[in-house]
């Protein structure tokens, strides 16, 4: 077959060199009971044309975001990614290389990771960033574990505005690692009193801004309360583009900043792969999870980059490592870095303004529409709508009219008494026609 260069003649010659009769003889160590006697019940190999056809048919059965007026967010956002980004990440040298353990022949990867770390640190307003985590949710869980190590406490306090999936990921690992989690109730209005819950038993407080419901939160006072009590503030975001317009968490006193980087450079991909961003203070470096690319010199004295502080990691520290993470999100981090390089400060700022303006324009239209209410006092490119009746049913009805309207809160928080809430996102991809289609489909469905 097309992927296997060895011919039957090659195989025979190789067996002769090895000195065995058949490949089966090479499996002699395997107990006979473990070797298959008959082939598995799986289809035979297919031509590339057939494979293409099968996936094309499957793909066409999904409603792609770009085909319809699209307002779905809640942790993953549709943005325009320049064509050059996807071209560059498909270069063989980026796509088909391994983790850069051999710095002499991996300077390409190492230098872009160094650039990525710098960009993430600048965006979040923090001193250092790592070379990526799997996604925003696992980055949040890693931040909680890191805070436990730093404070030697084992209780995390989670804001009610934290993305429910992120909160669930933290709860799952905490329960199984026998750590404690204190939850605030889901907080659609962004006005919870989390400060009164912070005391000296708390290791860290995780607060998201813009939060799950779209509200913007000033973290300054929460940070002060954390620090008074010897706790750390973990600031979370799911929409990285917002950092182009908003005060960075670092400037509000955050100790660890984690978030989802999908918005910049990466497609929706039905949920993954994405790229977790992780930034913190220099003093916490030794407890940071994940890979770090650092600057050094080669034997000729030329500047070179290399993975560093590896003694934190599992391949050296084993059961005392700061995390078990090995593979991270290298190529997604590259896409993030290239897209952000293309944007630059000027482009990112304009993009963030356009996102905000489109969301405000939609909110203004909806404020004039009957039977719905915009809940947010502040937001970036996403807000929560209270609708008459069941939001999930409404979304289905609007989808049948060819509009993907948003995420019903009940999809993530069933039984929270929020069945009438709909989270609506609007990015630069939305046009006046999209907004008009949204309002028309809404009015026809309520």
């Amino acid at each position: 077959m097309r992927y296997h260069p060895l011919s039957e003649a090659d195989r025979k010659a190789m067996l002769a060199t090895i000195g065995v009769e058949s490949v089966e003889a090479l499996y002699a160590d395997a107990p006979a009971s473990t070797l298959l006697r008959t082939p598995l019940d799986l289809p035979r190999h297919k031509s590339e044309l057939e494979v293409d056809r099968i996936f094309s048919r499957l793909s066409q059965r999904n409603m792609a975001a770009g085909r319809v007026p699209f307002f779905v967010g809640a942790g993953a956002y549709k943005h325009h990614v320049p064509a050059s980004v996807d071209h560059l990440i498909q270069r063989s040298e980026f796509l088909t290389s391994y983790t850069p353990y051999q710095p002499e022949i991996s300077q390409g990867t190492l230098q872009y990771l160094f650039e990525f770390q710098t960009q993430v640190a600048l965006l979040t307003g923090m001193e250092v960033a790592n070379a990526s985590m799997y996604d925003g949710s696992t980055a949040t869980a890693e931040a909680v574990l890191m805070a436990h190590r730093l404070t030697r406490r084992r209780k995390a306090l989670l804001s009610g505005g934290l993305h429910p999936h992120y909160a669930e990921v933290v709860r799952t690992i905490s329960r199984l690692a026998e750590d404690e989690v204190a939850d605030m109730a889901p907080d659609a209005l962004g006005d919870e009193d989390i400060i009164s819950r912070i005391d000296e038993s708390v290791s860290c407080v995780a607060v998201q801004t813009p939060d799950f419901f779209g509200n913007l939160r000033d973290l300054t006072k929460i940070a002060e309360a954390c620090h008074r009590n010897g706790a750390l503030l973990i600031a979370v975001f799911t929409e990285a583009v917002s950092l182009g317009l908003l005060t960075p968490p670092g400037a509000m006193g955050a100790d660890i900043v984690v978030g989802e980087g999908q918005s910049i450079g990466n497609a929706l991909n039905f949920g993954g792969p994405y790229v977790g961003l992780f930034a913190t203070r220099h003093e916490f470096l030794r407890q940071t999870p994940g890979r770090l690319a650092g600057e050094s010199r080669d034997a000729d004295g030329r500047r070179a980059y290399v993975l560093t502080l590896s003694t934190r990691e599992q391949h050296i520290r084993r059961d005392k490592a700061t995390s078990n993470i090995c593979t991270n999100s290298g190529l997604c981090a590259l896409a993030f870095t290239i897209h952000l390089t293309l944007l630059g400060e000027a482009g990112l700022t304009r993009l963030a303004r356009l996102n905000h303006a489109n969301a405000v324009a939609l909110a203004q239209m909806l404020e004039k529409a009957p039977k719905v209410e915009v809940l947010n006092k502040s937001f970036f490119n996403e807000f929560t709508l209270r609708v008459t009746g069941d939001a999930a049913a409404l979304v289905e009805k609007m989808a049948a009219k060819g509009v993907l309207a948003g995420v019903p809160v009940s999809r993530l928080l069933p039984g929270a008494g929020m069945d009438d809430l709909l989270i609506v996102a609007s990015t630069e991809v939305n046009t006046d026609e999209d907004r008009a289609a949204f309002v028309a489909a809404l009015e026809g469905s309520l």
Binding site: R286, S310, T311, I316, R317, K320
Partner: protein, 124 residues
């Protein structure tokens, strides 16, 4: 004779009154290679004999330093934060790790003197 006491884990002890200065031997630093970081305990920490006292990191390894005797940490070598290489360059002087207030001075007698340690090294 130097008056130092040695453990089989290649730590040395220099007794200064009720306090013992603890570090690693020249043999140990050579085995570890270039030291890049020393994780020192907090002052006031009480350690038992054989308990973890510090962690010394080279580029590719992290090695625990075990307390050769029981005691309380009264001082750590803060200079190692900036200059971990001191452990390589001057393990017996500027590269010391911690000062312990001895809990049981009699424990010192369980350690080797220089001659015994030199003999021990020859067996490795």
């Amino acid at each position: 004779m130097s008056g130092l006491k040695y453990s089989k884990d290649h730590e040395y002890l220099r007794i200064e009154g009720e306090v013992a200065v603890v570090g690693i031997t020249d043999y140990a630093q050579a085995q570890l290679g270039d030291i890049v970081f020393v994780d020192l305990p907090t002052i006031g920490k009480k350690v038992t004999k054989g308990g973890e006292l510090a962690v010394i990191e080279s580029v590719k390894a992290a090695s625990e330093v075990y307390a050769p005797v029981a005691g309380e940490v009264v001082e750590v070598n803060a200079e190692l934060g900036e200059k971990p290489a001191l452990v390589n360059e001057a393990p017996l002087s500027g590269g010391w790790l911690v000062k312990l207030r001895l809990e049981n001075p009699a424990e010192i007698e369980t350690l080797m003197d220089e001659a015994a340690y030199d003999g021990f090294l020859k067996t490795l």
